[in-house]
């Protein structure tokens, strides 16, 4: 391809900007602030791609087993509390909004606005985990955690279980009922892996709040906030998919 006219990047003319004339956050191996920001942003998108592949393994497992054990997956999803799930979705979407506002504040150099947005995001993230804890404890009480204490009661005898009864479940044959354990394995794996990402995100948020108070992100160098925002939105999107797959699909099926 004759592309000799294409010039790759805006490297400096002859030798670069002399030392001392560039902003302190420009690292030595970049030619310009734009190149540096561009690079960090691109790297973050690639990292998110690896995250997609990571969750992809779990989604694959979900799709296969859902096809194989459809009645068990429907009965399993009836055990999830769709009200808590919806509330949690709203909480996360709000946190994405506050995060996006945070990025805007950083870019427009509003320090107190940024701190406020980050704190709100932090609180909403914790709220999500709190609600998730309530949901998990419901599962533990009903012995729906896979392992030695797993109970098939709700699926063999739906009338004994309020949630199953409300959904109008009919008793599953024993071998299909046993496969509800696969459903709950995937439920805990997928939401647990998501919660782990939330915990990591909240940890980074705590660090960022301290740095933001010191004015680190409102002096023109917003890459860190921007990239963290991408991460936070990504974790949010994963939840949207989880909510649809685990709570909503086939809720009125079977």
């Amino acid at each position: 391809m004759p592309d000799s006219s294409a010039i790759a990047h805006d490297a400096p003319e002859a030798g670069g900007i002399p030392h001392g004339e560039h902003p302190p956050y420009l690292r030595h191996h970049f030619a310009s602030v734009e190149q540096q920001a561009d690079t960090a942003n691109f790297a973050m998108w690639l990292f998110l791609l690896t995250e997609v592949m990571f969750f992809g393994g779990l989604f694959t497992a979900y799709l296969i087993y859902r096809n194989w054990y459809y009645p068990a997956f429907v009965a399993g999803s009836h055990q999830l509390n769709v009200y808590w799930g919806t509330l949690n979705t709203l909480v996360l979407i709000c946190s994405s909004f506050t995060m996006a506002m945070g990025v805007w504040c950083a870019q427009t150099r509003r320090r107190s606005g940024l701190v406020l947005c980050l704190i709100l995001t932090f609180i909403l993230g914790l709220g999500f985990l709190g609600i998730k804890t309530i949901e998990y404890s419901e599962k533990i009480e009903k012995h729906h955690v896979p392992g030695f204490h797993y109970s098939l009661q709700s699926f063999l005898d739906p009338d004994s279980d309020a949630a199953a009864k409300a959904a109008g479940d009919r008793p599953l044959p024993l071998d299909m009922a046993r496969h509800t354990e696969v459903y709950f394995s995937l439920y805990f794996l997928m939401t647990g892996m998501h919660a782990l990402h939330m915990i990591i995100g909240i940890g980074i948020l705590g660090f960022m709040i301290l740095r933001a108070r010191a004015g680190a992100y409102t002096a023109g160098h917003t890459t860190f906030v921007l990239n963290f925002g991408l991460y936070w939105h990504f974790v949010d999107i994963i939840w949207i998919y989880l909510f649809a797959l685990l709570y909503l699909i086939s809720r009125h099926g079977a």
């Binding site: 790759a8 690896t50 393994g57 394995s185």
Partner: protein, 569 residues
């Protein structure tokens, strides 16, 4: 035509430049906290060599056990642990990071005219992750080992073995992240850090090959990570995703595992192919024939590589239709691989070839990789695969590709760039000898294993029927020769660090940007960012540059004098 292209500076006056990346800072901390891609490459080179020799020693034990038909050197379960650790170390701690983390790390920024990789701290982090993974593997070995084979096949790994699956799994998980970060760094660097004028189709083919391999690292490795997480959770709390008793499917593990581990062989071989392109062009003084085709064949291998994984599972109970489709797709990978071999051959045709060590290793690569690749077609054909799989035929096949191919390429690259990395030449005669010894030892070791496989000797057993002994003795004898072939470079390369001839900037008269700087390079690689105004492998451009320099020096005798004084001082 001269019989060598090596042009060294006058040894009586030449000096290693005082200021270079090795001397700029001193002390252990300046290495352990460095952001310099060249120093990180050296750190990688040392740690990778260390693990290579541990893995090699384990291979020696395997061959020693197989000298006799009885399982007499070690207990059979010890043998299982030895070949498992050999596989884990060689694949995750040597082959995957070998060329990318050392040569790639060192030379990609220099080849594209950048001062460093885009993310230096991530680069250092990836080395630390590699080291943590390595320490966990060593911990696994001293605390009892693991005996599942490097594939961690379920339900063996989840239910039936009592060995350290968890620590090995964690090691692979962490080493995997090291690989992801390296790949991510390369992609970002190649996209964003190229010098002015360095367009995609002026990139050296080494960079193209690493770009393709990086795509595989970034997309494949996370899937291995989740597969290992699932094995660990299955083993500890019994989640049942791979457990048939709970409705899970062990085959799902194999799909997830091979979705990474098949592309992983291209992660291993593609950077090696990049090395071969550089070496072949330099030592035949020609632009690579069909540059664009070779560049795109790297990308094609990466893309096709993602759609062939189930050929590892032909006898595992997947459907006949799946076998048919995956068999066909497997054959397709042969096309871009053959494009490379043909184009290298056409590059050599009518080139001014000189037989320095890197080219000898490259010839070894071409021959052995071709045999390894062609026997892969036997295995990709489902009919013959049913007979040959799980026999020594498979062992011979992947050792031809990985050891005969990749390791030869690694050694070719190490010799080729040694003058640039250290500023000194390796001793030519003994290294040529080492290349020949390696080639002979390799063939003695692994060719008999093809025959053993066809005769039906299964892999992964410590004992075998007595009629297979002759070929096994051949193989073990060859392994000792091979061992000598690998020890020699360690000895003479170490020797050359102090006593080797001063290499000068460009001993091979090569065209890459990395050769237009001092050896060893400055910490910031270039005194000023180069502007790329010619195509890759343009030997006429190099000649014009040198002619211009000679003219400048010739017209101005004072300048010549100044230069001599400067280089003497």
């Amino acid at each position: 035509m001269s019989d060598t292209i090596v042009s060294l500076p006058d040894q009586s006056t030449a000096r290693i430049p005082k200021d270079n990346f090795l001397t700029r800072e001193n002390g252990l901390l300046s290495w352990l906290l460095t952001g310099d891609h060249k120093r990180i490459a050296i750190l990688y080179l040392i740690s990778i060599t260390f693990f290579f020799f541990i893995g090699g020693a384990l291979a020696g034990l395997i061959r020693l056990e197989l000298l006799t038909p009885q399982a007499d050197l070690m207990a059979t379960d010890t043998y299982n642990k030895v070949f498992t650790m050999h596989g884990v170390i060689m694949i995750f701690l040597f082959l995957v990071p070998s060329v990318p983390a050392t040569l790639g790390n060192f030379f990609i920024p220099m080849m594209i005219g950048a001062k460093d990789l885009a993310l230096p701290r991530i680069n250092l982090l990836s080395w630390y992750l590699y080291v943590i993974g390595g320490i966990l593997v060593v911990y696994t070995m001293v605390s009892g080992g693991v005996d599942t084979g490097w594939t961690f096949t379920t339900p063996l790994s989840t239910h039936y073995v009592n060995t350290n699956v968890l620590s090995t799994g964690l090691a692979v998980f962490i080493a995997g992240f090291s690989s992801i970060l390296t790949g991510l760094n390369f992609i970002v660097t190649i996209h964003k850090m190229r010098a002015p004028g360095m367009t995609w189709f002026r990139l050296p083919l080494f960079v193209w090959a690493h770009y393709a391999a990086s795509i595989l690292m970034v997309l494949g490795t996370p899937v291995l990570a989740i597969a290992i997480v699932l094995v660990a959770l299955e083993r500890t709390i019994g989640i049942g995703v791979f457990d048939p008793a709970k409705g899970g499917d062990p085959l799902l593990f194999q799909h997830l595992f091979w979705f990474y581990s098949h592309p992983a062989v291209y992660i291993m071989i593609l950077p090696g192919m990049g090395v071969i392109s550089e070496v072949i062009s330099t030592f035949s003084r020609k632009r690579i024939f069909g540059y664009t085709a070779v560049a795109f064949s790297s990308v094609a291998i990466a893309v096709f590589g993602f759609f062939v994984w189930a050929h590892h599972m032909f006898i595992m109970g997947i459907s006949n239709y799946a076998v048919l489709v995956f068999s066909l797709l497997t054959m397709l990978v042969a096309v871009p691989s053959a494009i490379k071999i043909f184009n290298w051959t056409f590059t050599l045709y009518k080139g001014s070839i000189t037989f320095e060590t890197p080219l000898l290793y490259a010839f070894g690569f071409m021959g052995l990789f071709t045999i390894g690749g062609m026997t892969g077609v036997f295995l990709g054909t489902s009919g013959t695969d049913i007979h040959l799989t799980e026999t020594y035929f498979i062992v011979a096949h992947f050792h031809f590709v990985m050891v005969g191919g990749m390791l030869m390429a690694f050694l070719a690259g190490i010799h080729f760039w040694w003058p640039k990395m250290t500023g000194r030449m390796y001793p030519e005669k003994i290294s040529q000898l080492a290349a020949v010894v390696t080639f002979i030892g390799f063939n003695f070791t692994f060719f008999p294993q093809f025959i053993l496989g066809v005769l039906g000797m299964p892999r992964r057993y410590a004992a075998y029927p007595p009629e297979f002994q002759v070929l096994n003795v051949f193989s073990t004898a060859g392994a000792t020769i091979l061992g000598v072939g690998y020890l020699l470079p360690v000895l003479y390369l170490t020797w050359s660090l102090k006593y080797g001839a001063i290499a000068g900037n460009n001993p091979w008269q090569a065209t890459g940007l990395e050769w237009q700087t001092q050896s060893p390079p400055l910490t910031e690689n270039f005194t000023e960012i180069p502007v790329m105004d010619h195509e890759a492998y343009d030997y006429e451009w190099l000649e014009r540059q040198q002619q211009a320099e000679r003219n400048r020096d010739g017209q101005n005798p004072d300048r010549q004098k100044v230069k001599e004084v400067a280089s003497a001082g």
